[in-house]
């Protein structure tokens, strides 16, 4: 609250915090989802069980589903603010690079999370995504096999996507967000581009 910020700091500067909140609101539904799911509710009945049986389950599920879209939107708004305010320039290039990696990891979260309901739409959409990956040069076929967990699209694919979505990528994102915030705290924020340096003759003649 008492951190010094440049003149002209405005609401656009809250988009990063909003994105962080959107990310932090992901695990709680996911954890409650995981904790309320028993072997008895495994498979396709998980979604129905959470939606219909668990207290506030529909709200928690909606929070996870719609929050993911909100997070992507907020990331793009945050990137646009950073780009148009020139906040990617020296000495903040490293923070921009970390941000780009974070947005890519968010896309990976979106891709892997889309399959997890395992209904018709998510199933076929993810097949299309895996096939598109397979058309990439050199590594494409290997990447497609890696995503599917073999030649066929099935239970192994679901387990693999679940592990990536639940453990691997969230850990990477959390670590990179830590580095991102460290650099923000270290380097501070930039002033808006429309803000000019004050011209005061008395102070200007003191310049080193």
């Amino acid at each position: 609250m008492f951190r010094k910020v440049p003149k002209g700091t405005n609401w656009f500067y809250t988009l990063g915090s909003a994105t962080l909140f959107a990310f932090l609101s992901r695990p709680s539904p996911a954890c409650s989802w995981r904790c309320t799911t028993t072997r008895r509710h495994a498979g396709l009945r998980v979604g129905a069980h959470i939606t219909n049986d668990v207290f506030l389950g529909e709200f928690v599920r909606g929070m996870h589903k719609w929050g993911s879209s909100v997070m992507v939107i907020l990331i793009f708004l945050h990137m646009a603010r950073t780009f148009f305010f020139g906040a990617y320039k020296y000495p903040r290039e490293l923070n921009w690079i970390i941000g780009v990696v974070l947005v890519i990891l968010t896309f990976v979260m979106s891709l892997t999370g889309y399959l997890l309901p395992f209904d018709q739409r998510s199933y076929w959409a993810t097949i299309v995504a895996a096939n598109i990956n397979g058309t990439g040069p050199l590594v494409g076929p290997f990447l497609s096999d890696f995503l599917r967990g073999g030649a066929d699209f099935g239970a192994t694919t679901l387990s693999r996507f679940y592990a990536i979505h639940m453990m691997l990528v969230p850990g990477l994102i959390a670590a990179l967000i830590g580095a991102h915030l460290y650099l923000v705290a270290k380097l501070g924020t930039t002033a808006p581009p429309w803000l000019r340096a004050d011209k005061d003759e008395k102070l200007r003649e003191e310049r080193v």
Partner: protein, 245 residues
């Protein structure tokens, strides 16, 4: 159901109202930068920069840690019409996390070494080359009970209006010099300054004018790639502390 709806409404309103109240009241209640004593009388300062004391600006992390360099008015440097009686200069520039180390006052009385970028800044307004140097931050100073006190830090071109300067001076707390002063110069700085100097680039990596110097082969550049990458990251993160040497 009614209770749940009202409870949810209260939480939603509170989520906006409480931070707004906090931001509105926090600055007025708590943001009062204290003035700390430099522990010297105004006439005691030399005309060359000397470290007066370490200084922390609370709440802004590493960027807030600085060393205050102070000197008296020097007619050789300070020009009319209104030169101040004292100059209190930070070891930080507006380039975030950039520190400078003053070299020995006897060997180079008017030079600050900037590790980022690694260049020497001669005072005043003289640089050896490269892009223009941003000015170092300053401190407000005043005299209370015959002692010089150091007030809040300000950036030269971010806090220049007279009204803001007056407001900051007015907000400066009136802590007594007897309770807030510290010895001006510790044992380290009683003699000539012995702050560590930043490493200087060797001749092979020093930038040459176009057309001069030997052509750098790709193998040479590859050998330096790792060092340059670490240097690039360190320059932006200050993980080595910002002052190597």
């Amino acid at each position: 159901m009614t209770l749940t709806a009202h409870g949810a409404g209260a939480v939603a309103v509170g989520a906006f109202a409480l931070p707004a109240l906090g931001f509105a009241a926090g600055s007025a209640l708590f943001d009062r930068p204290p003035a700390t004593g430099a522990g010297r009388r105004p006439d005691d300062f030399p005309t060359t920069l000397r470290p007066a004391r370490d200084h922390d600006v609370a709440g802004i992390g590493e960027v807030g840690k600085t060393t205050v360099y102070m000197r008296a008015r020097n007619d050789e440097i300070d020009q009319p019409p209104n030169p101040p009686a004292r100059r209190a200069r930070s070891s930080r520039s507006r380039r975030a996390a950039c520190t400078s180390a003053a070299r020995s006052a006897t060997s180079r009385p008017r030079a600050l070494h900037l590790p980022v970028p690694r260049r020497r800044l001669r005072l005043p307004r003289q640089v050896d080359g490269g892009p223009p140097v941003r000015p170092l931050d300053r401190f407000y100073t005043r005299v209370r009970n015959g002692q010089v006190e150091v007030g809040p830090r300000y950036s030269v071109n971010s806090s220049s209006s007279a009204s803001r300067a007056t407001a900051i001076r007015r907000r400066t707390s009136t802590a007594s010099a007897s309770t807030s002063t510290r010895p001006l110069l510790d044992a380290r700085s009683d003699s000539a300054m012995k702050l560590p100097l930043p490493p200087r680039p060797d001749a092979s990596s020093r930038a040459q004018a176009p057309g001069r110097g030997r052509a750098r082969k790709p193998l040479d550049q590859a050998k330096e790639a790792g060092h340059r990458a670490v240097d690039w990251v360190d320059e932006r993160t200050s993980l080595s502390g910002g002052r190597a040497g």
